[in-house]
Symmetry: C2
Subunit: 506 residues, 2 copies
C-alpha cells in the first residue's frame, strides 16, 4: 500500500508520534543509549494521552504455545502503531525486516522505525514531512505492513574457511592479524579434551587463556553470561573467542563472542535478529562432525523461559578451521548420533515441501557423504573423518532454504519435557517414522545395526497424562516443521491422537 | 630456522638495513605514501654501498616463460635479502605470506617486512634489537625463508548469498544499507541486455547509473582503469558497484570496485595479494552459469604485459544474487560453452592429484548437476537454469583446493596466441583429450552432439613454426596444471613434440 492507503486516523496518530519523537530528539540530542530514547518517547506518548505499551511481547509463529517467543515490540501505541527505537550509526535492512516482521505477526499495518542517533534535525523534519515509505530513508522510516518481507533469505556466510588434515597447525598464523595489544585470545575448549594432547597444540601467546567448557548439557544463557562477565572483569575485552569442540561448544563460542559487545543477558537476544552489535572476532574449530553449527546463523541456548537461538547476521563465525584429524578420537556412539543429526536433517529437508535447488544441492551432497561413511564403509578410517566433516558443512549450508520435519518436531517435545539431547532424541524418534520417511527410516535402521548402536527405547514409560499433553502442545506448536513435512493441511494428517500414539511408542 | 641459523654475513647485512630503515623513518615519520619510504630506503641502501634492486620482477612458478609474472620484490639487496616495504595501519598475515612467497620463489633465506606507518620509534628500536622472527610482530619482521607457507589455503568466502527464482526483485532492499548519501550505486551491465526488459527492473535511486559494459572480449586493465577514473571524476566515489552479466562482467565489477580505492592502474595489481585496500561495496548478479566467477577470489584481466587476475582476499564479492530466472534468455551456444567451462574444470580437478575432500565434494556435486542438465534432460527447462546456477557456484567453490589440468594448459596457449575465448578454447582442446580423460571426453562428445553444438576445428591451420613454439612455451609454462594432471614426472609424459602434435590436431 502507498502512504495514501493508510487509514486517516492511523495517519494522524503516526504524525502525532513523529512530532513527539522529534521533541524527544531535540531534548536529548544524538549519542545516548537506545533505552534513554525509548523511555522518554514512551513517557511523551503516554503523557499525550495515548494508550502505549512498552516491550510488548509478541505471541508468534507457533500458534498453540508461547514457548519460543523471541520478539518484543519496543512501543505499541493504541494497539495499532508499532514503534521500533534504534540508536545506531546507520539503519540496516535487518532493522526494516524486524519491523515488518512485527507488523506481520501482530497484524498491524503501520510501523515507525526511528533512529535517534542522527545529528541533523533538519533532515528529521524533512523526513517527517515526506513520511518516506521506503527502507532507504536513513533517519526515519514509516513502514507499511503490507510490504512483502524478502522472499528469499539473504544468507550470511562465514568469513573464511580452511579445510585440510593438519590445518589446525595454521591456527596461530590465522588468528595473528586479529590480535589486539594486551587483549587475549580465549580458547573455549570442550572439557573432553582436558589433559589430552590437542591442548598442548593450542597456540597460546601473551595472556591467552584456555577455558574448558562443560558441555554435558546444551549451553545455558546463564553459563554464557557468566563466561562473558568473567572475561570482561579480567580483561576488559578480548581479541577473540575460539571454540574447539562439538556443536554445543561452537554455540557457546558464538554466544560468548556476541555477549562481549552486547549489553544485558544473552536471554535478551534469544530470537530473530535481536542482537544489536557484532561480537568480538570468533572462530570455530569443530571436533565432532554433523551438527552444522560451524556454518549456521544461530547459536542454540537454553534460557530461563525458552530454548532458542540467537539467530542473527552477527552470529556466524568469522573463521572456521575444518581439520578432519580432530574428529578421529571422538567416541563412536557420540560420533554416530552427531552424524545422524546431519543425516536426519537431510532426509527431512529433502523430503520436505520448502526446498529449492541451493538447499537441495547441499542436502543431497551431505546425504551422499553420510551414506559413504555409515553405509558403504566397512570400518572407520581417515576418509570417513574427511567425508563426515564435509557432510556436516554441506548439511549446515543446506539449512539456508530448507526446514526440518517430523523427527525434529516430535523430538522437540522430548527435549522440552525430558531434557533428551538433540542428537539422540532425533534418533529415538526416527526409529518409528516409517510412515513418513519409509526409505530414510529403512536406511537409518540399517546404519544403526551396521554401526552397532543401541537406540534407547521406552523413554515415555510412566509419563502422566499431563506430561503427554505438554509434549503434544510443544510439538504441535512447531507449525513450519509440520507444514514442511506434510503440507498446508498437516493438521488433518497429524492429529493430537496420532501424535500421542507416536510418543507412547518411543 | 631460528634467528641463530641465519648465516652471520646475512645477519650483519640485515642489521645494517634495519639501521637504515630506522634512519629513514626518523627522517620522514609515519603517514606518508609507501613509495616515499621505498625510494628513500633504496637511496640509503645504495648510498651505503650495497647492490640494491628496486621493484625486482620475480620469474616464478611457471618456469619456462615469464608470462604470468605478478610478483615484484620491493627491494632486493645483494641478491639475497628481500625487503618488503609497507605503510599500513597494521600488518596482516597476508603481508607475511607475501614475503614468504617471495623468499620461496626467489630462493632466498631472509626477508624484512617493514611497516613505516608506525608512530613509536621506541618500539622500532626494540623490534630491531629483538629481531623478532614471528609474524605477530606488528612493527618490523625478520622472516625466515624456511618457515612453511600455510599448507592449506584460507578461503575467503563471499559475504552474503541469496538464491531463488525472482530474488533479483530483492536487490533494492539488499543494497539499501550500503548506500551512502549522495554516492550512487553503479550497475555494470553486460551490453547484451541493452534495451532488454531486465534493465527496467534495475532498482535505480538518486544518482544511480547504469553502464553497459562491452564484454565482447575479456576485460582489459585499460578498460577497468577508464571506468574507475570516469566514476571518480563524476562522483568522487560511489556507494557500490553491482555487476550484472556473465563471467567477464563479474570480473569487471570486482576490478572496478577495487580500483575505486586503490591508486594507480589495475595492471599494478595483477598477481597474488598485491591489492592494498578493500574496494567499495560490490555485488555480483550472474546471468550466465558456469564460470564460477561469482564466488572466486580472482578477477581475470588482460593487461599490457600479461593476462592475469587480481587475486586477493579483497577480491570476492560482498554479495551475490543467484536468480536462475536471469539465465533463461542466454543464447544456447554461449550457455553451452560456459556450462562446459564448469564441466571441464570438474573433470580436470577430480582427475587431478591436488584434490582434497572439500574440493572433491563441491566438484562432484557440480559435475553431477552438469550431467543432469546436459546429459539427462530432454529439453531445456527452468530446472536446468536452477541446476546450472548451482553447478557454477559449486564449481567455483571447488577451486579452493584444486587445480585444473590438460585442457586449460593447452587452451591457454590458444588464447595467448589467437585470442580464443576461454570457454570455447577449452571445448576445442577437450575434444582431443581422450588419452588423458577418456571417460570425461566421451561424455563431453555426447553432450556436444546431444546439444547440437559445433566445436570449431582446424584453428591451428597455417600457423608458422614460430607460432607453434610460442604456444608450446606458454603451455609448458603452466607447471602446476601439468603436475596436477600428470604427476611430478609430467615432463616425461608431455614432451614438446607431443604437445606440438596435439596443437596441430586442433
Amino acid at each position: 500500500m502507498t502512504y495514501q492507503d493508510v487509514p486517516p486516523s492511523l495517519n494522524l496518530l503516526s504524525n502525532e508520534i513523529i512530532g513527539l519523537a522529534i521533541k524527544v530528539h531535540k531534548a536529548l540530542g544524538p549519542g545516548l543509549l537506545e533505552s534513554s530514547y525509548k523511555e522518554c518517547l514512551f513517557y511523551e506518548i503516554s503523557r499525550a494521552g495515548y494508550f502505549a505499551e512498552k516491550e510488548k511481547t509478541l505471541p508468534l509463529i507457533y500458534e498453540t504455545v508461547k514457548l519460543d517467543v523471541g520478539y518484543r515490540i519496543d512501543i505499541l501505541v493504541e494497539n495499532k502503531l508499532v514503534i521500533e527505537v534504534k540508536a545506531v550509526d546507520a539503519l540496516a535492512d535487518i532493522h526494516t525486516a524486524q519491523v515488518l516482521t512485527y507488523l506481520k505477526l501482530s497484524g498491524n499495518r503501520l510501523g515507525l522505525l526511528i533512529n535517534f542517533n542522527v545529528t541533523l534535525l533538519k533532515k528529521w523534519n524533512r523526513a517527517a514531512g515526506n513520511r518516506t515509505l521506503c527502507p532507504l530513508c536513513k533517519e526515519l522510516c514509516v513502514l507499511c505492513g503490507k510490504k512483502q518481507l524478502m522472499k528469499f533469505r539473504n544468507f550470511k556466510m562465514v568469513g573464511y574457511v580452511v579445510y585440510g588434515r593438519g590445518s589446525f597447525n595454521q591456527v596461530d598464523e590465522i588468528i595473528a592479524p586479529h590480535r589486539k595489544e594486551g587483549k587475549p585470545m580465549v580458547f573455549l575448549v570442550d572439557h573432553f579434551f582436558e589433559g589430552k594432547p590437542l591442548v598442548s597444540r593450542i597456540p597460546l601467546r601473551g595472556n591467552d587463556s584456555i577455558i574448558f567448557a562443560d558441555v554435558t548439557y546444551e549451553p545455558k544463557t546463564t553459563y554464557v553470561d557468566k563466561l562473558a562477565q568473567q572475561l570482561k572483569e579480567e580483561f576488559g575485552t578480548v581479541s577473540g573467542v575460539i571454540g574447539i569442540g562439538g556443536g554445543s561448544t561452537m554455540d557457546l563460542a558464538k554466544a560468548v563472542s556476541l555477549m562481549m559487545n552486547n549489553p544485558g543477558s544473552s536471554a535478551d537476544y534469544q530470537g530473530w535478529d535481536l542482537v544489536k552489535y557484532p561480537g568480538v572476532y570468533k572462530a570455530g574449530i569443530p571436533t565432532l562432525s554433523g551438527t552444522g553449527a560451524e556454518v549456521s546463523r544461530t547459536t542454540v541456548l537454553t534460557g530461563p523461559t525458552k530454548k532458542l537461538g540467537m539467530n542473527s547476521d552477527f552470529t556466524p563465525f568469522d573463521q572456521i578451521v575444518l581439520d578432519p584429524e580432530l574428529t578421529k578420537e571422538a567416541p563412536a556412539n557420540q560420533r554416530f548420533y552427531t552424524g545422524m543429526d546431519c543425516y536426519i536433517h537431510c532426509i527431512e529437508s529433502l523430503e520436505g515441501t520448502y526446498l529449492n535447488e541451493f538447499s537441495k544441492s547441499y542436502g543431497e551432497k551431505a546425504l551422499q557423504l553420510c551414506r559413504d561413511v555409515f553405509v558403504n564403509k566397512e570400518h572407520w578410517d581417515d576418509d570417513c573423518d574427511d567425508k563426515l566433516m564435509m557432510a556436516s558443512y554441506a548439511g549446515g549450508m543446506s539449512i539456508a532454504y530448507s526446514q526440518v520435519g517430523v523427527a525434529h518436531a516430535v523430538s522437540y517435545g522430548l527435549s522440552y519435557l525430558l531434557g533428551t539431547k538433540h542428537g539422540i532424541g532425533n534418533c529415538i524418534v526416527m526409529n518409528h517414522l516409517e510412515e513418513y520417511y519409509p526409505a530414510g527410516v529403512k536406511e537409518f535402521k540399517y546404519m544403526v545395526e551396521k554401526n552397532k548402536i543401541d537406540i534407547p527405547t521406552g523413554i515415555c514409560k510412566g509419563l502422566t497424562e499431563e506430561d503427554f499433553e505438554k509434549m503434544i502442545n510443544v510439538s504441535m506448536g512447531m507449525k513450519p516443521l509440520w507444514e514442511n513435512a506434510l503440507g498446508k493441511d498437516w493438521e488433518k494428517i497429524m492429529t493430537r491422537e496420532k501424535l500421542r500414539a507416536l510418543y507412547e511408542k518411543l
